[in-house]
């Protein structure tokens, strides 16, 4: 029954591989899934041009840099969130972990008198540990990330309150120095140390996601968890790792927020997890996982920051309009993603 190796079927496959329809889609200028990120870039440009046209001071490059300075902690938290969402998960605990981190910084330096070089590693380790715990529960007990990180959110916020219910202001030398030292850039511009750290976090995250097995496994899990397991990928380790990364980033975000406000407050960052999720989604990452970039998240944070800045420049608008703008945009982006999924079918 067997026929020679070169069966006519191989030709059929060759033909199929290059049917005109498929060619066209591959060569089309834009993969539809890049549409959200393209939309984000467009909105960003439009908002910036609008601002420059309307307010004289807006064209100063420092306005853009200040967005980065003011949102450095959000950016770091959102980068951690990107890892989690890429695997198809969610981390609701990050806002509380940020608050816990600020309170820990303040309590450990001001009340316990520990040096900052010791305090910061302790805080970061605590965040990572919390993430590790949540990730393990999510993976090994097969519980939805939503529920586990919701529990983590209450836990971290509660821990922050047990440390201190009041705002503690700080005058520790190291913290003040880091908070107040500008990082000069050419052209008379400057960044803060926090913003520089945030930029580094972005670069490291982009490298991890694109150039390491950990990163590619994150995408594979987001694409199809079962397949990833059957392909022999370390699904368990990777899932736990992304929550650890997110916990670490949240704690780091908390430290940056401490630099920014020079105080620790258990009321800090209420709802920050939702800002982070919004930034990730506006940045084009698909909530179901498997598709998205850290760079998109950066753009997402900039969109949020730019809207805020515009409303401040306007002066007469209540800052709560920021919320409305974010809400409308988020809805539009989710709808856009849905449309793309439908079209792809």
């Amino acid at each position: 029954m067997s026929t020679p190796t070169t069966s006519p079927g191989t030709e059929a496959a060759s033909r199929r591989g290059t049917t005109p329809g498929q060619r066209r889609s591959r060569l089309s200028p834009l993969d539809p899934r890049y549409l959200p990120i393209a939309a984000t870039v467009a909105i960003l440009l439009a908002a910036y041009v609008f601002g420059v046209g309307r307010y004289d001071a807006f064209s100063d490059g420092q306005v853009l840099l200040n967005i980065l300075v003011d949102n450095a902690f959000l950016l770091v938290v959102a980068v951690g969130m990107t890892f989690v969402i890429l695997t198809g998960g969610i981390d609701l605990s990050v806002g509380s972990v940020v608050a816990l981190a600020t309170v820990m910084c303040a309590v450990l330096t001001e009340q316990a008198g520990l040096p900052a070089v010791l305090v910061i590693p302790i805080v970061l380790a605590t965040g990572a540990l919390l993430g590790l715990g949540m990730g393990s529960v999510i993976h090994y007990f097969e519980i939805q990330p939503f529920v586990v990180t919701l529990a983590g959110m209450f836990l971290a916020r509660g821990l922050a309150y047990t440390l201190s219910t009041e705002s503690i202001s700080m005058d520790d030398g190291v913290f003040t120095a880091i908070a107040q030292t500008p990082v000069p850039l050419p052209g008379g511009l400057h960044l803060s140390i926090s913003a520089t750290i945030a930029v580094c976090v972005v670069l490291v995250a982009a490298y991890l996601l694109h150039y390491t097995r950990l990163g590619r496994t994150v995408y594979a899990i987001g694409g199809n968890k079962r397949s990833a397991f059957l392909m022999g990928l370390p699904v368990a380790r990777t899932r736990v790792t992304v929550y650890t990364i997110s916990g670490f980033c949240a704690a780091l975000g908390g430290v940056l927020l401490t630099f920014y406000t020079l105080s620790g407050n258990s009321l800090n960052a209420v709802g920050l997890e939702l800002d982070a999720i919004a930034a990730v989604v506006i940045g084009g990452t698909v909530l179901m996982g498997g598709f998205g970039f850290v760079l998109g998240t950066v753009l997402g944070v900039f969109v949020l920051g730019l809207i805020q800045t515009l409303i401040i420049f306007e002066g007469t608008l209540s800052s709560w309009w920021t919320r409305i703008a974010i809400g409308v945009m988020l809805l539009l982006f989710i709808l856009l993603q849905r449309l793309i999924v439908w079209r792809a079918r």
Binding site: M1, G9, T10, G17, Y211, M231, G232, G290
Partner: protein, 502 residues
């Protein structure tokens, strides 16, 4: 020649079931070995044991002469055994190249070397005679291409034993030919290939050796050249005479011609889906729909069930003309529909046989009038008996049943609502010969009792076996209606292909 793989005395128990009992199996390099058996014979269990997904309760596996015991799929892969499953287990969001190499990416200075990865995949695909762009996203490729990519990955991971678990069930003839081309290339390179399929023809076309399992026991190992298809089927189903008898045409009552028409369409159609068609289905009559994939079979059925709305023509069900706006309306008129995709559209796998059976009836009664538990059990038991559902346990989870038995549960659910028109879309797809024969026989019995049946199947022989009347579809139009008297598959094929070289 020594076998590269040999399994002896394999035993695997699940609570209440012995899935494999003292099974032996061996594979030789440079051979395609078909593993055959009905659903529930133990094929999947044996494959899962081989690939490390299950642990054996007893028995030995030796690979290349040394005993092995795998803790999981990863270990099996590392030892040289790779599996390609029926549903492609790759990541649709990654590129073809990444899917081939993920977890084993070429690296330089600790970072993934993307260029090397693309080049190596291109080379690998070329070696398999496949023209697939490695940079393309996998999800945008056809199922056939995805399957070939999965094979490419498996081959590159480990080039000794390749397990293909029903790789052809969703491919068309051309695609099967491509796949077989690749399989032959690999066989000639000395790989041992395990091939599982329900299609007897394909098995004979590709295999050198066959092993048959039945009820978790080994029936025998045969060389493909020494066994005929009939002997193979006999070995698989075992219940020799009884079941083979059932494979004969079920006794079709010839005189449905005088019974009242239950469903009648006059130029019913929907733009872009199906051309207007006129079709009568009498009580007690089985009407078969024949046509190629994409000829409009499913579209026609969806109009009759109210899943799509007709935009022209009329439909009469029973005594009144109706405009179906939803499946609910169709159900209320006595229409029942068993969809093609059992798992996605029909059964709830996590519920028991009893719960699945009473589902539609409960839905019709409304939530305010629950069915008493005792009544549910009576109903479930009566249908388990009537349709010979196995295991005969109303509390068994549907997800654990074989394909044929799942189909019977779905059938039971709709029969319970006492439909007057039963629509069956590919009811025997992917189930074994024994169960197929039972379902065909059941359809004949239902018609005998006066039910109107619309039967859709890709297999012409099957359509001819059960139908009184055959409607032929081509290019989304009903092109012919023929009474099934002396019809042969060739004649129907002729009609399907009319206009082309016949």
């Amino acid at each position: 020649m020594d076998p590269i793989l040999s399994m002896t005395g394999i035993r695997k128990e699940f609570p209440g079931v012995v899935a494999l009992d003292d099974v032996a199996f061996r594979m030789f390099p440079g051979e395609v070995h078909a593993l055959m058996g009905e659903n529930g014979a133990g094929k999947s269990t044996l494959i899962k044991v081989l690939t490390g997904a299950y642990h054996v309760d007893a028995g030995n596996i030796s690979l290349n002469g040394s005993a092995v015991r795998f803790a999981g799929p990863l270990q099996a892969q590392q030892a040289g055994i790779s599996t390609v499953y029926q549903e492609v287990n790759l990541c649709p969001n990654l590129s073809v190249a990444e899917n081939i190499f993920i977890g084993r990416e070429p690296r330089r200075l600790g970072r993934i070397h993307w260029t090397a990865m693309k080049n190596r995949s291109a080379e690998l695909l070329r070696r398999l005679d496949l023209d697939i762009d490695p940079g393309r996203e996998l999800g945008s490729c056809s199922i056939a291409v995805q399957q070939l990519v999965a094979i490419a990955r498996a081959v590159d991971v480990s080039a000794r034993v390749l397990v293909l678990d029903e790789p052809t069930s969703s491919l068309d003839a051309d695609e099967v030919a491509t796949l077989f081309g690749v399989v032959r290339t690999l066989r000639d390179q000395g790989m041992a290939i395990l091939f599982v399929s329900h299609f007897i023809e394909q098995v004979f076309a590709i295999s050198d050796r066959m092993t048959v399992l039945r009820n978790g026991k080994l029936v025998g190992e045969y060389r493909a050249s020494e066994i005929t298809p009939v002997d193979l089927v006999r070995a698989m189903i075992g219940r020799e005479l009884a079941t083979l008898d059932e494979l004969e045409p079920p006794r079709r009552r010839s005189g449905a011609g005088q019974a009242p028409v239950f469903a009648a369409t006059v130029d019913l159609g929907r733009k872009g889906n199906i051309e207007p068609f006129t079709l009568d289905i009498r009580e007690g009559e089985v009407v078969g729909l024949a046509g190629l994939l994409g000829s409009g079979r499913t579209e026609l059925v969806r109009l009759l069930f109210g899943a799509d709305r007709a935009d022209q023509g009329s439909l009469r069900l029973g005594e009144s003309t109706v405009h179906l706006r939803s499946p609910r309306a169709a159900i209320a008129r006595g229409v029942a529909f068993c969809p093609e995709n059992r798992k996605a559209d029909g059964l709830v796998e996590d519920l028991t046989v009893r719960e699945n059976i009473v589902l539609a009836l409960q839905a019709r009664r409304g939530w305010a009038r629950p069915l008493p538990r005792r009544r549910q059990e009576e109903l479930a038991r009566s249908f388990i008996d009537r349709l010979r559902i196995r295991p005969a346990d109303p509390e068994a989870l549907v997800g654990n049943l074989s394909g044929g038995n799942q189909q019977k549960v779905l059938l039971a659910r709709w029969l319970l609502t006492e439909p007057r028109l039963l629509i069956l879309d590919e009811p025997t797809r992917g189930i074994d010969i024994g169960a197929k024969a039972e379902i065909q026989k059941l359809i004949a019995e239902l018609a005998e009792d006066g039910m109107a049946v619309l039967f859709v199947s890709a297999e012409l022989e099957e359509v001819l076996r059960v139908s009184h009347q055959v409607a032929v579809l081509r290019d989304r139009a009903v092109v012919d209606r023929m009474p099934n008297e002396g019809l042969t598959p060739d004649m129907v094929l002729h009609t399907i292909a009319k206009g082309e070289a016949a």
